[in-house]
């Protein structure tokens, strides 16, 4: 299973954090510090896989954002790279030419998309189109409910 997913900028600013196991706030902060320093210290052409404690860390840089995914030791690293790529594609489809700013200003949407793609540290839907459709429907539901709710009562 996946243990956590972190998105951070080249300056080490956290843009998204998803934890799939219960961890205390202090532990989380420590892990974030460790991950950012480890990943940002990597040479540009090195391999995308790292070992950290008993986990495998797979990271990939997309423009100004680093995607850092931690998985159990028996997971397939190459597939983890594909998972990261799939998430970027989903974000791209949703935001249209997604950049870091989109994720900063619409972080809750980034989480909603992630929650349609992964659950409990596993992939829940392998089709891009299905995930996109679900996000759109949820957004639609939110808007119509808002409209409905904002109508004056009775």
């Amino acid at each position: 299973m996946m243990r956590f997913l972190l998105l951070f900028s080249r300056q080490g600013k956290l843009r998204l954090q998803k934890w799939f196991t219960p961890i205390s706030e202090r532990e989380k902060k420590k892990i974030i510090r460790d991950m950012t320093s480890m990943v940002l210290a990597r040479q540009p052409r090195s391999c995308n896989f790292l070992h950290w404690k008993d986990l495998k860390i797979i990271y990939k840089r997309y423009a100004s954002l680093y995607f850092c995914l931690a998985v159990d030791n028996q997971e397939n690293e190459l597939l983890a790279l594909e998972v990261i790529h799939r998430y970027v594609e989903l974000l791209d489809k949703y935001f249209g030419n997604v950049c870091e700013l989109d994720i900063i200003f619409n972080f809750e949407k980034a989480y909603f998309i992630l929650d349609e793609f992964l659950i409990g540290g596993e992939i829940q839907e392998t089709s891009k189109q299905v995930v996109n459709r679900c996000i759109e429907s949820s957004d639609m539901l939110q808007e119509t409910m808002e409209e409905y709710m904002s109508k004056p009562a009775f």
């Binding site: 900028s9 080249r10 300056q11 956290l14 843009r15 954090q17 799939f20 219960p22 961890i23 205390s24 902060k29 052409r45 090195s46 391999c47 995308n48 896989f49 790292l50 997309y62 423009a63 100004s64 954002l65 397939n76 690293e77 190459l78 597939l79 790279l81 594909e82 998972v83 970027v88 594609e89 030419n97 950049c99 870091e100 700013l101 900063i104 200003f105 972080f107 809750e108 989480y111 909603f112 929650d115 659950i119 409990g120 596993e122 992939i123 829940q124 839907e125 392998t126 089709s127 189109q129 299905v130 679900c134 429907s137 949820s138 539901l141 939110q142 409910m145 808002e146 709710m149 904002s150």
Partner: protein
């Protein structure tokens, strides 16, 4: 109280803050407003915005625990927008350790039965993310119900929720087993994927479940075949592979089911061969599937032809341009080099070639190469390894799995290819040895033996001399856990050092090491001090200025300040500056001695103490000062010494070239600063037109 601003405006305000202080100010104001808003009963649609703002602030690292109750309230709200943010907040702020998490159990239960699937999905997602064991036990029957009778959108989420429940409460696995079985008949890939993950989880936890689920092997093979030979499916295609995520999970499950079981392994043989040969390996995604296939083949009871095919795939991976693929290949080959030795041997050439690569994979390549050395290929292997010497050092330094491995590796390469290594190896190796205190005995024995066999490799000789000088007592003690016992007498050790001193192959630098080592031994041995004195005095008239100066200073120590000789034992200095720093420290110690004379210190010679020649706390008048002076490592020596001492440690990491006497002192001092100070990259603003990717650069490449 200022009115609260919309989420995006707040984010903008925070980002435009120029200092940490300003940012904190903005956030404090906002948090105060948010708290006030939370206390109000109802304020229209702004509630979800407030919580979202709080979540943003939380992500920046500020405390947000006062939002926990608000999450609970929002989750219970009938509005979808509020539920959405409420559940998000629950996943971010609540975990099973918080008391508030129990309060949402009821809301989740209600939402699981909601008429709207998106509301159900929120509840399922949250439960799978942060559900505690009690919550899981409470809600397991609900999940089971959803597994059986709902649409595929819910089923796939319920399956993964069940996975989480089984992880938390192992016994509940029994509850989900029947539903899991029937889910394999679904057509929807999301549901299938969830089912496979659930079955994998059940099998991993429970051997009985594993037995029962073996019957599903034919079904799994069927599904897999469908994926592999099916035509293009737009819904699931990734670079020509149909649903690689599902394929990999099925392969993993097959691995678990086929392990230690002939029948199951036979049933999947053909399929695995088919996947191995038909999968397109030009893109990462294809290689991911191939990789999983290889792992499965090597783990089950596959026939030999299939195993050879698998190893050949790994061999092909080694030639791949992609570093990641090479790394994967190396780790996999390493796992099987014990069992499939001959198959791996065939790829030896490629493996050794990988040694030239300066990356983490080199570490693996090295271990693998060493594992492949046998009587027949040792000559060629050593030649090939020697050529890759610097790559090895670099990688060994960065990625060594254990210190003993690191030391062994470096010694190994030094003995075979010492001439090819770079200059900084010696100080780095000395530093490494110093830091590995538990291996001092082992290291000094090994180095001594290496010195006896061959004194032609300068790096090796220098390190060996230094070691003998520093840890001579451990060498002379004889017993060492990690190597065979050998009796080394003081004469033997001195013979070795003298050979180095006298050999025409030794460079002046090497002689310097040997002379210092000889001097250091004078504090660690008991019988042959005179012999050392004579060696040292001979070099007092040596042609080499450096050596002469050193010898003269050492002689002075013998003559005038015999009891201060023990200071040489704390000349715990390393690196290419050793010669320089030794001179400084000796000079300093001589000055201190003069100072002590002035103080009227007693002339009693100190008793030789144990092991590392530390002065005992005998009470001579100079004793207290000596105590201060005679610490190893951490106790400060005379001020002049301290600087050189502590800073040299950091110094060696960055510099390779030697310094003259005068430069050493100041040079070492300045460089600690640069090491301590971290580099700060400028905050990249939106409008910067630098070559660096900015926040507005699209994430999609090409």
């Amino acid at each position: 109280m200022s009115p609260s601003i919309p989420l995006q405006e707040m984010i903008r305000a925070i980002r435009s803050a120029r200092t940490q202080c300003e940012e904190r100010g903005v956030i404090q104001r906002e948090c105060a407003a948010i708290r006030a808003q939370f206390r109000q009963v109802d304020n229209g649609g702004a509630r979800s915005h407030n919580l979202a703002k709080l979540l943003y602030v939380h992500m920046l690292g500020y405390p947000a625990h006062f939002g926990q109750m608000e999450c609970v309230r929002m989750i219970a709200s009938p509005r979808y927008s509020e539920k959405r943010v409420g559940y998000l907040g629950a996943m971010m702020l609540l975990d099973e350790k918080q008391d508030a998490s129990l309060l949402i159990t009821n809301s989740i239960k209600n939402d699981l039965a909601h008429s709207n699937q998106y509301v159900q999905s929120l509840a399922l997602c949250t439960l799978a993310c942060m559900g505690s064991a009690e919550m899981c036990r409470d809600l397991a029957p609900e999940i089971d119900r959803l597994l059986r009778a709902s649409n595929s959108y819910i089923k796939k989420k319920a399956a993964l929720c069940a996975v989480h429940i089984v992880r938390k409460v192992h016994d509940l696995g029994e509850l989900f087993a029947p539903a899991a079985r029937s889910l394999l008949a679904e057509k929807n890939h999301g549901v299938l994927h969830g089912a496979v993950v659930l079955i994998t989880q059940l099998c991993e936890r429970n051997p009985e479940a594993l037995e029962r689920f073996r019957k599903t092997v034919p079904d799994l093979v069927q599904i897999m075949k469908g994926l592999v030979i099916s035509g293009y499916s737009p819904e699931h295609d990734v670079a020509g592979i149909s649903d690689p995520f599902l394929q990999v999970r099925i392969l993993r499950l097959l691995r678990i089911l086929g392990r230690h079981n002939e029948t199951a392994s036979d049933a999947m043989n053909d399929l695995l061969a088919q996947v191995a040969t038909n999968t397109d390996s030009t893109k990462t995604v294809g290689n991911a599937v191939l990789y999983e296939t290889v792992l499965t083949v090597l783990d089950i009871k596959s026939e030999s032809g299939l195993r050879v095919l698998a190893v050949n795939i790994l061999g092909r991976f080694l030639l791949n341009n992609d570093r990641n693929i090479r790394y994967i290949a190396m780790t996999s080959l390493q796992r099987i080099v014990g069992t499939d030795h001959n198959a791996v041997q065939r790829h030896r050439g490629t493996i050794v070639d990988c040694l030239k690569d300066q990356d983490a994979s080199v570490n693996r390549a090295l271990e693998l190469s060493l594992a492949l050395v046998s009587a027949s290929n040792i000559r060629t292997m050593m030649k090939e390894l020697a050529q890759a010497a610097s790559g090895i050092f670099h990688a060994a330094e960065r990625y060594a799995p254990s210190q003993r491995w690191h030391i062994d590796t470096i010694l190994h390469v030094l003995t075979t290819a010492g001439g090819d290594v770079r200059d900084e190896t010696v100080p780095n190796l000395i530093q490494l040895i110093t830091n590995t205190s538990e291996l001092h005995c082992y290291t000094v024995h090994k180095l001594y033996r290496a010195l006896l066999t061959d004194i032609s490799q300068p790096s090796l000789v220098q390190v060996a001399c230094w070691c003998i000088g520093e840890y001579g007592d451990l060498l002379l003690k004889g017993e060492c856990q990690e190597t065979e016992p050998s009796q080394v007498t003081e004469d033997d050790a001195l013979d070795a050092l003298e050979t180095v001193l006298q050999s025409h192959m030794s460079s002046p630098a090497t002689r310097g090491f040997a002379l210092t080592a000889t001097m250091k031994l004078s504090t660690r041995i008991t019988e042959n001090v005179d012999r050392i004195r004579s060696i040292v005095s001979i070099y007092g008239s040596c042609m080499d200025v450096e050596l002469q100066q050193r010898a003269v200073e050492y002689n002075a120590l013998f003559r005038k300040y015999d009891h201060m000789r023990y200071l040489t034992s704390v000349l715990y200095v390393i690196g290419s500056n050793e010669e320089a720093v030794v001179s400084i420290s000796v000079r300093c110690s001589l000055q201190v001695c003069d100072l002590l004379d002035l103080l009227g210190g007693s002339e009693e010679p100190l008793q030789p103490s144990t092991a590392l020649g530390l002065p005992n706390s005998t009470s001579t008048a100079g004793g207290d000062l000596l105590d201060l002076l005679g610490g190893l490592e951490l106790t400060p020596l005379a001020p002049g010494l301290t600087h050189a001492h502590t800073h040299t440690h950091t110094h060696t990491h960055t510099h390779t070239h030697t310094h003259t006497h005068t430069h050493t002192h100041t040079h070492t001092h300045t460089h600690t600063h640069t090491l301590v100070e971290t580099e700060r990259e400028p905050e990249v603003k939106n409008l910067t037109k630098t070559k660096l990717q900015t926040e507005t650069s699209s994430l999609r490449i090409k």
